[in-house]
Symmetry: C2
Subunit: 233 residues, 2 copies
């Protein structure tokens, strides 16, 4: 499930990345490669590779004679899955969650509309299967089962949209949904209205009704936004 924990440099990243995104090193802080290498007990080569990756994420900037400078948050590659994961695990988790939910509310309705036009028969079948799975797990504290089908549902929609940019948001949406279930206050059972909406979206997509699919999905995302407002007004 996780990504780059392989290799020594990956281990360093998994420690240094979250520290930076959590604001442990505020923007403008200067790190020295040699000192970092010592503190992580790795060679300079390994540390340099880690710094290069952080640099490609625009988290830091490496300059001669000055060192490795932490960049302001506004320049970070906030769409990088790894950065998203680090931030979701750290201090500004709430802000990140809100940003991502707003992004969802913009993207998913359009994606659903496109899915209604482009979804294959197989994808339609998969979609109804997911919706049924959600219904089956919507009562009696079966949150894990519900979550799995929920994540799969939205992933299928995004893939079926036929847009590669949308498709790549599947992981992000899954992360948001998982976060809601695992970390935030989750009501005992999911909102029955939301479950119904998912079933209806599956129907609309199968029927090729783009307008209806878009509008129903918008209702789902509006619900997700309201849920956030309740938790953090």
């Amino acid at each position: 499930m996780s990504t780059s924990g392989r290799g020594l440099h990956g281990h360093v990243l998994e420690s240094l990345g979250p520290a930076i995104t959590a604001g442990e090193y505020p923007p403008g802080s200067v790190l020295r490669t040699d000192e970092l290498a010592q503190s992580f007990d790795v060679s300079r080569s390994v540390m340099r590779e880690a710094v290069r990756v952080l640099e490609s994420m625009h988290l830091v900037e490496s300059r001669r004679r000055v060192g490795v400078t932490v960049r302001p948050k506004s320049e970070w590659n906030v769409y990088d899955p790894q950065v998203i994961r680090w931030r979701l695990a750290g201090a500004d988790r709430p802000q990140q969650l809100r940003s991502l939910t707003v992004l969802r509310s913009a993207v998913e309705p359009i994606a659903a509309g496109l899915a209604a036009k482009h979804a294959t028969a197989e994808q339609c079948a998969e979609l109804t299967e997911c919706a049924l799975g959600m219904v089956a797990n919507s009562r009696g504290h079966r949150l894990e089962g519900y979550l799995i089908h929920d994540m799969a549902f939205h992933r299928v929609i995004l893939n079926a949209s036929g847009n590669e940019m949308f498709a790549r948001l599947g992981d992000v949406v899954a992360e948001v949904l998982a976060g809601r279930t695992h970390h935030e206050v989750m009501f005992e059972d999911p909102d029955p209205a939301a479950v119904t909406l998912h079933v209806q979206v599956a129907e609309a997509v199968r029927a090729g009704d783009a307008v209806r699919a878009e509008s129903l999905t918008r209702e789902i995302t509006v619900g997700a936004l309201q849920e956030l407002d309740i938790l953090a007004p």
Copy 2:
């Protein structure tokens, strides 16, 4: 304007990255670090750093005893600005342009609606200034001047939305707009209707009319989509 051309490893990236995104090495291809280092005439350390960056973009995967494998396009980090730039400069530029325009059509209307609620007085002023600049350059082959104000306009909207994920799409949108002017067939002068819409959006944002700002911006993005359909049906 460009990013990582600094250092030897950056130079290697600017050559190897576009080659991969252009499909010069099809998915599944296996590269060897040592051979690459030789062919680029750099040391292995430098080549390893370059490979690490490509790996963090999910363009390749490095495994022991097998080499550096090119990953399928569906796994690439297509939101990475560098990857976007490489793809826009290469073979699948049309597909990339279409994906990004669809993304715009999803994001920008919502962003405009949020901007109407959150924009500061300064941002409102900037916005009308941009719109006026577009009007002033809308006739008489002043495409460059028009483009500059167009890019600035959309960047202000995205920033004023108050959502960091939206804000980071400013560069992407700018790239799309610039591409349309520089590479695609651009009509002599911009569509007068589009110019008017921008002015009206600026007004709506200043007035705090979120619904109107969203709907007007949707008209703009619909126009952009239609423009694409005309060019590549």
